[in-house]
């Protein structure tokens, strides 16, 4: 028989398989399952161990409700951004602009409240003004996200560059709008309720952040939007050939992270009752670190909201724990850095393991 040579292909042949479904694939499947689910489960274990260690060393202080509360409050603004970042990173994208968009949205919110309030400042503004201001903040964040998404999806400029540009531009615009001076005339009603108040024992900030995370988890796992997010991160060209409008979906994903950065801006404004212009230059790295720690793959296609929640908590818990134990908190940075690199290394091993099949 005459056989022309077959073309080499991207998919490696499986030399060992004889029946197509012998014992090797069974083993491989098991290994695949352990690897693919290892990151979030493993990182959750890390969190549990950290909590356990600090609890044993200083049982009364660490588990006191004050610390738990402050841990969660510190984590909630980051968590809101991290929910959006999870979607972005699952598409194999990145958003470096989140901290600046947070600031920009807060500034827009305050400026709108000032404009609508009766007096010279917005400090004594009522709920109507507050609500419009908060919505304006979110709209500003969403609009920023749409603009970045459009450049990424349509003009095909890499997200790293687009959002790096956005990072500088959003902060710069915020400074232009405020002349570089923090606006602190935040309505007292806002600061006393959403910002620093509680519903029973639960701080409003924490409730809002958890609601966002739960909704985010549902959308990511159980809707078409989430499914397409995974599909694009896994194989964008394949998704396109199945008829998914990849460009439009990417635009929506960047709009979502923008919207959530806007919400984070509102929350931050409410909590600190000032625009905190100078305090968010590292938010992007904090949030990306949290998402990656939580097992979301920087290469796209893999991720979970549960992991992201855990990933946000780890640095914050470490911080609080080290303070209580009396160790310099600088060690937090060291520990998180090491764990982050290990997490990505494990992810690379997993990918190599998969592509060898």
């Amino acid at each position: 028989m005459i056989t022309t040579p077959s073309t080499p292909s991207a998919t490696a042949p499986d030399p060992g398989a004889t029946g197509g479904g012998g014992s090797r694939p069974g083993l491989a499947r098991l290994r695949g399952r352990v690897f693919s689910s290892s990151s979030p489960a493993w990182i959750f274990l890390v969190l549990v161990v950290i909590v356990a260690v600090f609890s044993v060393i200083k049982p009364h202080q660490f588990l006191s409700s004050f610390d738990i509360k402050s841990i969660f409050i510190n984590a909630s603004v980051d968590l809101v951004m991290a929910v959006g970042m999870t979607f972005v990173i699952v598409t194999a994208g990145i958003d470096l602009s989140v901290g600046s968009v947070l600031v920009f949205s807060g500034v827009v919110a305050v400026k709108v409240m000032e404009a609508l309030a009766s007096g010279a400042t917005a400090v004594s503004a009522g709920w109507g003004v507050i609500l419009v201001g908060l919505l304006a903040g979110m709209a500003a964040g969403a609009a920023w996200g749409v603009a970045q998404g459009a450049v990424i999806a349509k003009a095909k400029v890499p997200p790293f560059i687009v959002t790096l540009g956005g990072f500088g531009a959003a902060l710069g615009l915020s400074q232009v709008l405020t002349n570089g001076v923090d606006a602190s005339d935040v309505p007292a009603k806002l600061g006393n309720t959403i910002g620093n108040g509680s519903l029973g024992p639960f701080p409003w900030l924490v409730i809002i952040a958890l609601v966002v995370a739960v909704i985010g988890a549902g959308v990511l796992q159980s809707t078409r939007f989430g499914r397409y997010t995974f599909a694009i991160g896994s194989n964008a060209e394949g998704a396109r050939r199945t008829g998914i409008n990849v460009d439009r979906h990417l635009l929506k994903v960047y709009a979502v992270v923008g919207l959530l950065s806007g919400l984070a801006g509102d929350l931050s404004l409410a909590h600190f009752t000032t625009t905190t212009l100078a305090s968010h230059n590292n938010d992007n790295l904090t949030v990306i670190t949290a998402v990656i720690l939580g097992g979301t793959s920087l290469f796209g296609g893999v991720g979970s909201m549960f992991g992201t929640v855990v990933g946000v908590l780890i640095p914050v818990v470490l911080d609080a724990g080290l303070v209580i134990v009396g160790v310099q908190t600088f060690w937090q940075g060291v520990a998180v850095g090491v764990v982050l690199v290990l997490a990505v290394y494990a992810d690379q091993l997993r990918r190599k393991n998969n592509s060898r099949r």
Binding site: M1, T11, A12, G19, A28, F230, R241, G301
Partner: protein, 278 residues
């Protein structure tokens, strides 16, 4: 030179309206004309093999039919009606499904998620996972794909043959009428190739029209009812399997003609005008 088997009563060509007729399809990329007036007729229940050397234009032809490339010239008739396909959704709406050479599966998604990708079933806003899982399992079973043990395992954990089987099953889930496979066995070992070829035969037996691109003439002669030979963007032959042997197919692929075919073949006539003369 175009050699075409007689349209009247060729072996392996059932009568009835053809499912898909391509007439004079042209496609150029920049200065290079990759498809130079290609004719091809596909019928339901018939497996047609599209063969040709590397770079002959096979993948380009498939992508044109699938709506990934728009054609520069030529006509597409679907069940006798003139149609234009602008994108993969148009093709899917007609009942055309393609299994691409570089498998269009998402590694990180599981078998069910891949089979329903882009066409997920929902209950309200949420995905109806149970119903999709059930249908995916049924489709795989109906195609006798038994080696995929769990439809909830990620595609990355499957062997090459299993992946191809999933890709093919994905293609037949949608009441498709024409399934196109681009080099489905190129990356596979012997037994995995066996699985996929059996699957291709079953598609034909189900009454689907199948167009399979392959380099491997063993495979072609095993599954195909008809063999179409593309050379440098031109269709140089479209013949029933029984009318050729592999040596003449190789001659057609490399030189564009085969004396053996004209001399010994029972059916071929030179009814279609040679493009070099035109």
């Amino acid at each position: 030179m175009t050699q075409t088997a007689s349209d009247t009563a060729p072996a392996g060509a059932p009568s009835g309206t053809p499912l898909l007729q391509l007439e004079g399809i042209r496609k150029r990329f920049g200065a290079v004309e990759v498809l130079r007036g290609v004719d091809l007729t596909l019928r339901s229940g018939q497996v047609t093999a599209l063969v040709g050397d590397n770079g002959a234009g096979k993948s380009t032809l498939i992508k044109a039919v699938a709506g990934i490339y728009t054609i520069d010239d030529g006509r597409m008739l679907w069940e006798g009606r003139h149609v234009t396909v602008h994108n993969p959704k148009d093709a899917a709406a007609l009942g055309i499904e393609v299994v691409y050479q570089d498998l269009a599966l998402a590694d990180n998604l599981d078998v069910v998620q891949n089979m329903f990708l882009g066409r997920e079933r929902r209950r309200g806003l949420l995905l109806d996972e149970d119903s999709m899982e059930k249908s995916a399992g049924e489709t795989l079973a109906s195609l006798q794909v038994t080696t995929v043990r769990s439809v909830r395992q990620p595609v990355a954990s499957l062997s090459g043959g299993q992946r191809q089987s999933v890709a093919v099953a994905k293609a037949v889930m949608w009441n498709s009428k024409l399934v196109i496979l681009d080099e489905p066995t190129a990356a596979l070992g012997v037994s995995q190739t066996r699985q996929v070829l059996d699957l291709v035969k079953r598609l034909g037996e189900r009454g689907l029209a199948v167009l399979i691109v392959s380099h491997n003439l063993n495979d072609v002669f095993e599954v195909a009812d008809r063999i179409a030979v593309l050379r440098l963007g031109e269709m140089v032959a479209d013949v029933a399997r029984g009318d050729v042997d592999s040596q003449s197919v190789v001659e057609l692929m490399t030189t564009g003609r085969s004396d053996r075919l004209t001399a010994d073949g029972p059916a071929p006539t030179s009814s279609a005008a040679s493009r070099e003369d035109a």
